[in-house]
Symmetry: C5
Subunit: 354 residues, 5 copies
């Protein structure tokens, strides 16, 4: 995952509500798709010309308009007018570093949150902003890129599978949120695997780079936490909010979603704890290694320093050194040296260095 | 205990409420037992064919149906229909990584929590999911494996011992929860013993593996905390909940249970603190050891380096070295060397290294 | 103080409310004393035979029955019946590892808390469980061992000293709690003295055992905190509780008691902080010591290694070494050596190692 | 940014409400500007003589009086009287170390907060106090120095751009707060860049000064947090406050502002975490470096110490050393030495030191 | 500041409300002064004989009685009776280790808090207890020693300066509290200066004593925090309390006071953070120093150990050593030695040790 914080880059002094897209420019054309369905009918369309497109919605259907790519301000402006979106909401949709939030504007509910995409090939996690607007009978969704998290939901609607076709727009919103939150578990699993790999590295073969890995992982956990933490409040607001757009039967589903967000936070917290513990482990492993190095040095020095002294002693050139003349002096000194070595080894064994 | 986090593995994009068993497949057949009792009568049956089984419950009895093994979706589906269980509840029952929670569906109360099983032989702790459904007059319990934590409750019912026979289903639920929570103390005692063993190891003989033990114990404490923490809310919801299924006389018992959950959290917190403290102790013990090693090296070096120099000095081959010719030079140098050794030893004593 | 956590050892699977004494068995016989008093009269009795004893309480007196020793289940059972005590309360009284708590059963109030006894001779702190039941006009107290914390209260009643004689049973309960909480300050003072002794040790002469002392003190602080923390809630419940057994005039006294419990928590928290800081200090003192050792080694080595090399150089046996033949070579080399020593000492002074 | 805390320097014992300017004296003259506008008209004036100046405000216009420089007590006093400002408010305006706060005096709302100015040339951040008083139809703003954060707002009013001209004074206050809070993001971005530079330094080339940089950055983060944290409450009070001066239509804008303050706090918290992590990294990098140094020392010593001993051994001057006479002794000893070197190198490779 | 915690030293088992002075005995006589004032009149007296003194208070004046020295129980008892002070309040006044608190007894309000006195000569901070009783029209203040914090307030009353003369007793209480809280900023500034001095010491010249300074400063910060923290609640209670003794017009002043207490807590918290950071810095500076020492040792050893070996090699006494006879062997060996030195220096440069 990119570790960078994306700052709220509205031009200083610009008018609040100014529409500025703060994400990366993308070459792909904006793609708008429209799905209309209820228990009996299903209709799907790609809208090429937003201007001329007319939303002939029937009274009892759910209309889901999904916009892929939010960098084209012209299209965005047309939508803004068509759906009477508050300028600040529009600004939040385009500001891809927006903190997840929920707002109730009576006519519609606005939810913005982060979506994560794991790419197998690069072992990388892409963050993307997702905005949802729930009107009576209509749901608008804005994505930065095209993703496949929602394809299963589309399939379910197409095949009239599951509860979704007989429910209102709020259930569609729940389904979208559920799909996004569920995908967090995948991201967490990947992060958990990386955590385990680092853990293994710390235990078996701690290298200089390991500490950088621990540091970067910590950064990612902090950023993930920052992105996911507010979602709990978003879901809670959906449950507690008095909005008439949320049907009473959807509450148990939202409750279930809320439990999932809490569980995600639990896992992230335990990751943080584990990561901190890994840093401690790494530091202790460096210290252990140092101890080992010092032990080798000390043992070698301690054994050979007295021996070298003895050798030096009898290398002196004094005239009057009676030992030098004695015939057994050399073997006696050699034996003394061996005794010193044995003594030292016993000393080390007693110190449990061996 | 297995340190792995069990992720909420619902297939990405699958319909909420889809029944998927996320635990390990087990060979044992699903076992369903049915106990019916009140103050006067007691009846026990093993249900082999759920299809044909008819629950001829009398009005004033408590009916306890226990399902051992939740991997057989066919059986689970039949139960779901028979007892009108909400699909999301059913999903939670099968999802063995579910966070403990309480939900009140007016007709019934749903409680899910973790049960721990300590195995003496392997010094291992097995976590298992336990789901309880309390209907008026009927209690449904779902276990992953067969365990013996509940056998004493069965015995009490069979032998009409204790209060349980004259009470409603809520008291049975309380008894089950009480048995589970009581068993946590056993797990905590085992963990406490391990903590003490590691503490002793840190003090008497800290090894390289000790830090891994501290790390793994910390992981287990984190996981245990994650499993037990929400139970406090579950019990609190049972007390505070307005459900008519919980009799007023059961409140003091639930209060008592609540106190136990708080006590468990207190103990876990003190374990965490102790564990952190052990890590500090381990690090200081490594440093102490290093100090000791360095002391030995420094003392040996500091004593012998000047001696070796002196020996080297008089090993030089200069023509004009008058000392070499003097008859008492050798004993004088030897005495000087002894004086150096004594001086050094006094220096070390003053430094309190000896 | 014993550092061990006393686990809630109810036999697994036993019936809730089963009376099991979980403390240590004691040889002393159970001693029951009965004091009856009001502003005018005072009567004291030791009850030997509980069975035949009749409590002929007058309407306007306070009756205080104190039970020393709670291991005799027979006596306990008689009391339970005589005073209609709820089985769970009885279980809590006998379970000596009970967390401090307050419960209001309309007819009576139940308070359980920890009492500490400091023994001068062994510098040891003994923890003891104290249970108090307040009925209208009657107070029951259960102690594990005989202690003298309450003797002054008895003396005050005997001598009609202070407010106590003209007050109801709730004031007696307050007096008992006040005596217990006041004694905590003594325990804290002793702990504070130990903390200071360790602090001094860390500064003047940190030894290997010091870290163990810090660790054990931390454990004791954790346990003390665990025992005292809930008392705040107990006292608060007494104040906020709507019980008619607590007179309005007793509120200021309970408020005062509440302030004391907060002050105790403040002191314990500051002890924790100080203890943590001591650990840091200890670690830094080890590092400082290591630095000192290394300095000695480095200075000795750095001075003598070049000297030894020089000596070795002129100890070589090459035929063609013109220096060896020169008459002033030896004094020149000696001077060079002295110059090296001086140069090194200057270098060390510049490095501020000397 | 200056790291110093600016203490609340009211002269000890002076009367509360005494007007004392606690900032730095500045040579620039006080500059008062007056802007009056509504949807149709716009009028701008620099007030040179406050005494004679008459505010002929029309009923439906917004009047914005901005005071640059607050050290001239005479001018301040005149304003105080003209606008009936509470003496404590006046004291807060002049006390440039005032904590951000919101106060509602029915007739007017008082908001004080910190404004930051980043100076590209010195890579320095200047903190400045900003006070805002919102009356019905009139807005008073007090700045320490002249800054250009508000120039864009002036331009918008002049050019009748944006919503601002058709709104009341509360929208002007919102615009000012929004401009200030938006500028925090710039400061945070600069701080984030510094954090990244330090991060890189820690990884690639940790120097002795790096730790000072980490420490000073931490200080700045603490001070920034201290300045920004209360702004959240200020904005919340504006939203929640019942003041009639805040129009209902301004609430969504204030909500948006509130979200921004929360996001700022999120970023600051993540900076703190990262900073702490950097300190850990730095410490581990020092330890790693030490390990490397020790490895070099140990390898050199361990290889040469046995060789030197061997050389010393055969440098002894004993008469009776048969090896010395043997013709192949020298090459054999040389080979032995080479074998020792190879053996040691293999040993180091096995230890993974090479 | 004395680092010692002053324990709540009520004699164990003594009656609650017993009057015991727990401070240090002082030789100075108790001094009681009486000031009576309103907008028109002012009268000041030193009361020598409390017994015979009659308080002939007029209806519309404020009467301020200040007692300097609280060790004379006789005088205290007379005051207690004269002003109907609750025995527990009296006990709190005398117990100089009382935690700051607020209590409302309908007839009067009781406030107790800590006052700090900085003594320039000894660079020491003295803590003193201050108790305030606010009756309708009368204010009682109890100080341990005579101090000059209140002299300015007396001067203001004498000189009819400021708002104070036209206000009720609650404004006098506010003025006293404001003077005390304002003085905290002085103490904080002194503490901040010490913090900066230690910071400088850690950076430029960390000594063994530095860590003790950091530790003691931390202790003082903890104690200060313990003394000041509850004052926030005291002031809040004055604002929120429903007491009729607090006039509505005094609320803004108390609000201002409340903001100051929050600011003080902010500063103390930032001191704590800085102090912790200093400890980290100190530890890293020790490690850096160790690294430097090791580098010197390693460089010296690594350069000379191979040289010494070479010298030793050619000091061997083997008969058959052809090199010794060669005429150029000695210069060749010398050149080899120089090459080794150069090689090592290049190696160190590459390692960035030089």
């Amino acid at each position: 995952m990119t570790r960078k914080i994306r700052y709220n880059r509205r031009k200083i002094g610009s008018i609040p509500g100014t529409l500025v897209y703060t994400g990366d420019k993308i070459a792909d054309p904006v793609k708008i798709s429209h799905i209309e369905y209820n228990g009996e009918m299903f209709q799907e369309q790609v809208i090429s010309n937003l201007q001329s497109y007319k939303i002939n919605k029937k009274a009892d259907t759910v209309s889901w308009i999904n916009i892929n790519g939010i960098y084209d301000l012209e299209i965005i402006n047309k939508l803004k007018e068509k759906f009477c979106i508050h300028p600040l909401v529009m600004e939040d949709i385009l500001n891809v570093s927006q903190r997840p939030k929920y707002e109730d504007f009576e006519d519609y509910i606005f939810v913005v949150l982060k979506m994560f995409q794991y790419e197998e090939t690069t072992d990388d996690v892409q963050s993307e902003q997702m905005s949802i607007l729930l009107y009576k009978g209509t749901v608008l969704t804005f994505q930065e890129h095209e993703g496949d998290v929602f394809n299963q939901i589309r399939d379910r609607i197409r095949n009239k599978k599951g509860r979704i076709c007989n429910k209102k727009g709020d259930y569609l919103v729940y389904s979208l949120l559920d799909a996004i939150v569920n995908y967090y578990f995948v991201i967490l699993e990947k992060l958990g695997e990386r955590l385990e790999r680092i853990e293994e590295e710390v235990f078996s073969n701690p290298k200089k780079e390991t500490v950088a890995k621990i540091h970067y992982l910590k950064q990612e956990i902090i950023l993930l936490r920052k992105s996911i933490w507010p979602i709990r409040d978003v879901v809670n607001s959906l449950i507690k909010g008095e909005s008439s757009l949320i049907e009473k039967e959807s509450r148990p589903f939202l409750h279930d979603l809320y439990d999932h967000t809490i569980e995600i936070m639990d896992i992230i917290e335990s990751y943080r704890d584990t990561n901190t513990s890994l840093m401690d482990m790494y530091l202790s492993s460096i210290s252990n290694r140092m101890n080992e190095i010092m032990k080798v040095l000390t043992m070698m020095s301690t054994i050979f320093i007295p021996l070298s002294f003895l050798a030096g002693l009898y290398g002196m050139n004094f005239k009057n050194m009676p030992e030098l003349e004695m015939p057994f002096a050399y073997p006696v000194v050699l034996s003394l040296m061996i005794a010193i070595v044995i003594g030292m080894l016993l000393f080390f064994r007693r110190k449990k260095w061996l």
